[in-house]
């Protein structure tokens, strides 16, 4: 009567496991006539199997589908076998890799690609793509995509992922509301707290949150820790098996700022039980001034935003003596190990990065492309300016979400929620995390 999803999945995986353990894992690789990479690019042939994270009818899917059609048209010998797999595509990819039927090309958020494949060495190096010229242009990938974005997930100095979309996070607001209330976007934490006090005095809810989403709640502490500890600082503390990292004064300072913010009553009533997307909807309808969210905020909320809503974003406030880095959350392509047609996949990447084809990501999908020389959609001008500012970059959640996913979900998130909902103090937050992390790392490794 009920679909027993967990059981079915577990059984499927266990069945698969039985087969791999019995030693019949690697299917003989069918010799799909590969591209002769040596010859010039005029005579491409073969089948390109491409598994994408997008679902049918999503804007990015439409953009990529147009590119695929163009690729097939430009190379009559090529057939692209596309699968729109949705966000849990990597589980399928991993299963396919272990059964010897890996696709040739995949796309996904870099953090998740890293956790699922790159970190365990299951992707092919793409350094030759980085130095190659983009299809129909004179410039190479390295010329047009910022080096930090190509290096972020490199292994032994070789890129494993070519980003095509850039995401960041920051504090979103409606410019009209700020103008009406006579408020200027703050840059420092003190100014930010002042803005909150001003808004409260004017009877405007300063901040909205979808409190049932752990990862959204975690934005606050992670950003504060990023400001106090700098790129890779929080990640080092999180992974410190001795627990000594938690004694770093910045760790507690960050917690104290969050405690102050929560105590100030900045968040809308009932934020601890607001289920996504109710909170962001409320914000887009003008009930609440600010929202800390990724740069997908405009595209996710625009269909119910109040008329004339003017999307603006300011960077997460800085703290005295702190750092000012930019979050770079990439979406890109990787080629899994065991791909039958990696050369064709590389050609496709170079083809898709062409300005005219990639611009759909900005124009149709309302997102930032990975190319430095391409314009941003109007709603993301602030984000683009942030990337262009030349500030150092850091990974989303400082890389913790993908490097230590178990710790992030089962140790950090519950305690972080307690702090974020005002149930524990900053001191308790730090001592609890220290204690539980030490216990956790005794028997766990990620």
């Amino acid at each position: 009567v009920q679909p027993k999803r967990s059981t079915r999945l577990a059984l499927a995986l266990l069945a698969l496991l039985t087969f791999t353990m019995a030693g019949c894992g690697g299917k003989p690789t069918s010799s799909g006539s590969g591209t002769s990479s040596g010859t010039s690019d005029s005579k491409l042939s073969g089948t390109l199997t491409y598994w994408s994270m997008w679902n049918k009818d999503e804007p990015q899917m439409k953009v990529l589908q147009a590119t695929i059609d163009a690729f097939e048209k430009a190379n009559p010998g090529v057939k692209v076998n596309i699968q729109w797999g949705g966000r849990e595509i990597l589980t399928k990819v991993r299963t396919a890799i272990s059964s010897g039927s890996a696709p040739d090309l995949i796309d996904k958020d870099a953090e998740e690609l890293d956790a699922a494949l790159i970190a365990t060495g299951q992707t092919l190096p793409l350094d030759d793509v980085v130095s190659a010229k983009i299809d129909g242009e004179d410039k190479t990938v390295a010329d047009l995509i910022a080096k930090p974005h190509l290096d972020m997930f490199a292994k032994d100095g070789k890129a494993q992922l070519i980003p095509y979309e850039l995401i960041s996070s920051g504090i979103w607001y409606d410019e009209n509301l700020f103008t009406k209330q006579g408020i200027k976007p703050p840059t420092t934490w003190d100014e930010f707290m002042k803005v909150i006090a001003d808004l409260k005095a004017k009877n405007v809810t300063p901040l909205v949150a979808d409190g049932t989403e752990d990862v959204y709640n975690a934005y606050w502490y992670y950003w504060l820790a990023e400001r106090y500890l700098g790129p890779d600082g929080f990640r080092k503390v999180a992974g410190d098996k001795t627990g000594a990292g938690w004694d770093n004064p910045g760790v507690k300072e960050a917690a104290k700022r969050l405690e102050e913010l929560v105590k100030s009553g900045a968040f809308s009533k009932g934020y601890d039980g607001t289920k996504w997307p109710a909170g962001q909807t409320q914000w887009a309808k003008g009930d609440g001034a600010m929202l800390l969210l990724g740069s997908w905020a405009p595209s996710e909320t625009k269909s119910y935003a109040t008329p004339g809503f003017k999307y603006r974003m300011f960077p997460f406030p800085t703290v005295p003596g702190g750092q000012k880095s930019v979050e770079a959350y990439l979406i890109g392509w990787s080629i899994p190990k065991g791909a039958k047609n990696p050369e064709l996949a590389k050609k496709f990447i170079l083809f898709a990065l062409n300005k005219d084809r990639l611009k759909g990501i900005a124009d149709v999908a309302d997102n930032l492309t990975s190319r430095k020389d391409m314009a941003a959609p109007a709603v993301l001008a602030d984000v683009k300016a942030l990337f262009d500012s030349g500030a150092p970059t850091h990974r989303a959640y400082d890389g913790i979400q993908s490097d230590y996913p178990g710790w992030f979900k089962t140790v950090f998130s519950p305690i972080d929620n307690d702090l974020f909902f005002g149930k524990i103090s900053a001191d308790e937050f730090v001592s609890k995390l220290k204690e539980q992390s030490v216990t956790y790392w005794k028997t766990n490794n990620k």
């Binding site: 009567v1 009920q2 679909p3 027993k4 999803r5 967990s6 059981t7 999945l9 577990a10 059984l11 995986l13 266990l14 069945a15 496991l17 039985t18 353990m21 966000r87 849990e88 990597l90 589980t91 991993r94 299963t95 890799i97 272990s98 998740e112 956790a115 699922a116 365990t120 299951q122 409190g211 049932t212 989403e213 752990d214 990862v215 959204y216 009533k269 009932g270 601890d272 039980g273 607001t274 289920k275 996504w276 997307p277 109710a278 409320q282 190990k337 996913p405 178990g406 992030f408 979900k409 089962t410 998130s413 519950p414 929620n417 909902f421 149930k423 956790y440 005794k442 028997t443 766990n444």
Partner: protein
């Protein structure tokens, strides 16, 4: 005749036996083995760690939270589902138009749990939700709550589970009631029995076998409770750990969601403890419920 039958046993039993062995027994044993390893479940090599995963479970507050949540569903939700089921049995047996009512209480079972979860999410929104809006407009603002806040969300989920499953188990029990010959109830009526007495002295003893099967189904269902909770609190990412059951814990640790954890070894250890729990619960339940079936 008998010898032919005997010779036919093997060919008839063998396919089922083989399939069962390949798809149930071997994977179960495999997961026992996997639980002794540190392994992501994919290409990378397994590292034998002995009982380390189990030691980890002992010190894992999230595991114990999901363990107590599972027990809470098993016993408290189970007790309420069956109490309500019995109550509906008493009422529905004698009511006119019971066909309609039966369908109505069964209704939650024909809708996908994911859809129900989304519906409940809408009803319970602190600001715009129907529940709080109704309470406020009825002048009962004091009763309005942040229903999905960490303190309440699990209780609300349990309430929803009761709503979903009561109809299912009532239907099973009523199917048993339907085959009880009417003259038992007629005799009870003549003796002047109340509906409650009729339930205790006629319905309960004569449907005991049905009820014990239903209880067994509930135990297994409760221990692997998954989809509604998963959908209720995890649209974007995996739900917060305070609502995890063992099944959710096992799934999220092994396969992850948008934050993939991929620790199949640890997840298998959780699965093994779940099997243990099912075995203990089923054995205990059989002890309690087994009695001579009444023939009629």
């Amino acid at each position: 005749m008998l010898s032919i039958r005997r010779r036919l046993i093997l060919p008839f039993v063998l396919p089922a036996f083989l399939l069962y062995t390949i798809f149930y027994i071997v994977p179960s044993l495999a997961s026992l083995y996997v639980s002794l390893n540190d392994w992501s479940g994919f290409g990378d090599p397994m590292v034998f760690v002995g009982a380390r995963n189990y030691q980890g479970l002992v010190h894992d507050p999230v595991y114990w939270k999901s363990f107590t949540n599972t027990l809470f569903i098993l016993f408290v939700v189970g007790a309420l589902v069956f109490s309500l089921g019995f109550l509906f049995t008493i009422i529905l047996r004698e009511l006119r138009g019971r066909g309609f009512l039966r369908a109505a209480i069964f209704f939650p079972n024909i809708v996908a749990p994911v859809a129900l979860a989304i519906l409940w999410g809408f009803l319970l929104d602190p600001k715009f939700g129907l529940v709080n809006t109704l309470l406020r407009s009825a002048g009962l603002s004091v009763l309005a709550r942040t229903w999905m806040s960490p303190d309440l969300v699990f209780k609300v989920i349990c309430l929803a589970l009761i709503w979903i499953y009561t109809g299912y188990y009532t239907t099973i029990i009523l199917a048993g009631v339907d085959k009880i010959p009417a003259y038992y109830y007629e005799a009870a009526d003549v003796e002047g029995a109340s509906p409650f007495q009729k339930f205790i002295y006629v319905t309960l003893p004569m449907t005991w076998d049905v009820i014990s099967v239903a209880a067994l189904l509930w135990v297994i269902n409760a221990i692997k409770m998954f989809e509604f909770i998963y959908a209720f609190s995890g649209v974007g990412d995996a739900p917060p750990t305070n609502v995890w059951t063992l099944a959710l814990n096992m799934f999220i640790i092994s396969f992850g969601n948008r934050t993939p954890i991929y620790r199949l070894g640890y997840g298998s250890a959780i699965a093994v403890t779940m099997v243990g729990l099912v075995v203990v619960a089923v054995v205990l339940l059989r002890r309690v419920l087994t009695r001579e079936a009444i023939e009629y």
